[in-house]
Symmetry: C2
Subunit: 380 residues, 2 copies
């Protein structure tokens, strides 16, 4: 019997130690879909950040298309300074730390890097206080985070997905929860605003911003067609579906979610989306426990407190055939580099036939009926 | 190190034996969502059939509604006679065996019982031979299976869901893959025909029947509003969605699928559907390895053979909050009885807000556009 400190061990850690060698192949198949090979990537001289690489594998050689190999980098990070420090200092400290991870992702050959949701700030929406937190909001196309990442994108010939709190100076100064996609030339390819906003537990995001108005854009990059389903949007199969319909081959899901709310759901939803839509999904979760200066309640009858729950990291990648990597750490920073062959998307569509058999016209008609007031359910 | 014969052990069996007591609470939370309590039900004097009961739990007491407690029974069964025996004998042998399980489900207090897909016959669609297999097709409203189950439904005050191969004598004798719902008065409440038909591996079902024409009916029974998503329909989030939109509180997924094709996907899809739609799902898989008289190929470059892969059973129930039971056996018959409180459906909608935030009107419009020829993807 082991003496576990659960908060620091992942499911994978426990299975590694406790499952016998004879059981491992079967357990691996059932939990991860396939045995994946490690990717040989450089280590990082920083024991506060886990770095791990995986070959997703699974694609076959085709006669008429070359493999389309892409490496993605998923970054999960704790905040750096206490939330009581000046906004500019908090952001600068995160910029500096995550900047190093982006540089390391480049050394690992990553072509596309994505950070967690609102990666430049603490997830302060639990407080329902507008100030100072809304000061973290910045312009997508000209703010300090864009400027920093634009340099990295050019220097490393990378596409960078930067999920931030956006200040919309062209539209009444409103705030959005936005993923900015920066191309290898350092210019913005486009942005996507979070489509579905939670109203649960400490996730009072609807107090700060509305549902996104950017639709379901797919960004055509030199490294494949990519899209971003931000956080709570992963609970919505229609959201995942539309990114697929628009042609996405990789959908990133930058998130911020805590253990008591969602941890058992985390391995299910992004993985199911990969299966259902025959594309890769990259689920990235914030990590760490964040303290805030003033106490707040959580709508759960419990006393006021100053701490959000524990953001459990556990970022992972799933292939179109359902095979997935292990998750990153539950408690510390991490960089997961995954090598994908985008050809597996179409191959999986051919093999399973989910898109061919989806009967989209029937559902379009049914949802149109269902979204009308006075809709009559088909009940016998 | 244990000496496992993998085909006879489930993931759960292995975790039971190999995971330490100190790790079990964490592993249970991550894999099953919550620790569930066993239901105290009578044993069956037949060691060829596993019988197990679970309290799904998780619902809170409400002030204005009483709990709505329902027990469901999921039955998975091997065939009985060799597939070379006369059709009538094969069916009769299955009827006799499963009849005993239905009787036992009644003793366990089950209010609704559902069998696996085309439960009265071997899953002969691998052969692509029309005869004798199409002779298993029978009239939904008057065939021998209806007659048998009508008696049981009345005797035990049960709703019975009977997934069969249907012969449509009112429509040119065509065949359908159909779930027949029989009420407590022994009369048919209605039927549902499989909406999505596979074309993968040995699942040559499109050789025998077309996509269903019954929509997404929800059957209003004394034990809740129920629906049936047959087998391959579980890969289609839109199919699950429409049953939810029509008001389903429990969706049964009678299936027949084999280990090399889908086993890692099995714990994901029906569970994700429960989460996404805030209803209970009951995933039932055929069990056993079936041999056929004549050899057939599987479209996988391998030599002709007479055996379908292994149907791995592993039937399970998921609650709207994502908590799930363990799976039934991978190799033998099983009856899983689960006690549910239907109030948890609405409670989960209130808690998580997935339905409130789904933006159905937006998706109705988008899917209408996407289903038109000439649709232009939103690509930047």
């Amino acid at each position: 019997m082991m003496n576990h400190k659960f908060s620091e061990l992942t499911l994978e850690d426990i299975l590694d130690v406790e499952i016998s060698d004879s059981s491992k192949p079967f357990i691996t198949k059932l939990i991860y879909g396939r045995e994946l090979k490690k990717l040989d990537i450089p280590t990082l001289e920083d024991d506060k950040c886990e770095v791990v690489g995986w070959h997703l594998g699974g694609a076959r050689a085709e006669q008429l298309r070359d493999p389309r190999i892409v490496r993605v980098g998923l970054i999960q990070n704790t905040i750096v300074l206490p939330t009581s420090e000046p906004i500019a200092d908090q952001r600068k400290a995160i910029h500096d730390k995550v900047g190093k991870y982006i540089e390391h992702a480049a050394k690992c050959g990553a072509n596309i890097v994505c950070m967690q949701e609102t990666w430049t700030m603490p997830f302060a929406f639990c407080t329902r206080e507008k100030y100072p937190w809304t000061e973290f909001a910045e312009e997508a196309e000209s703010g300090p985070t864009y400027k920093l990442l634009s340099t990295f994108a050019q220097r490393y010939n990378m596409v960078i997905i930067s999920p931030i709190l956006e200040r919309d100076i062209n539209k009444d100064d409103v705030i959005w929860n936005t993923a900015v996609v920066i191309g290898t030339d350092g210019l913005i390819i486009g942005k996507h605003r979070k489509n579905h906003i939670p109203r649960v537990g400490d996730f009072n995001e609807s107090t700060y911003y509305m549902e996104g108005n950017t639709g379901h854009p797919v960004f055509d990059t030199p490294f494949g067609k990519i899209a971003i389903n931000i956080c709570y949007g992963r609970h919505h199969p229609l959201n995942w579906l539309m990114f697929g319909i628009n042609g996405a081959e990789i959908v990133f899901n930058p998130s911020a979610t805590v253990d008591n709310l969602s941890e058992p759901l985390w391995p299910i939803e992004a993985r199911n989306a990969a299966i259902a839509n025959s594309y890769y999904t990259c689920a990235i979760n914030r990590v760490g426990t964040e303290q805030f200066p003033n106490e707040f309640t959580s709508g759960d009858t419990k006393p006021a407190h100053k701490e959000f729950g524990h953001f459990y990291g556990s970022s992972y990648v799933t292939a179109p055939d359902g095979a997935r990597t292990r998750g990153l750490s539950r408690y510390k920073d991490g960089l997961l580099v995954a090598e994908l062959d985008l050809n597996l998307c179409r191959q999986t569509k051919d093999e399973w036939g989910f898109k061919m058999t989806e009967r989209l016209d029937m559902y379009a008609k049914k949802l149109s009926e269902a979204s009308q007031t006075g809709f009559k359910q088909q009940i016998l």
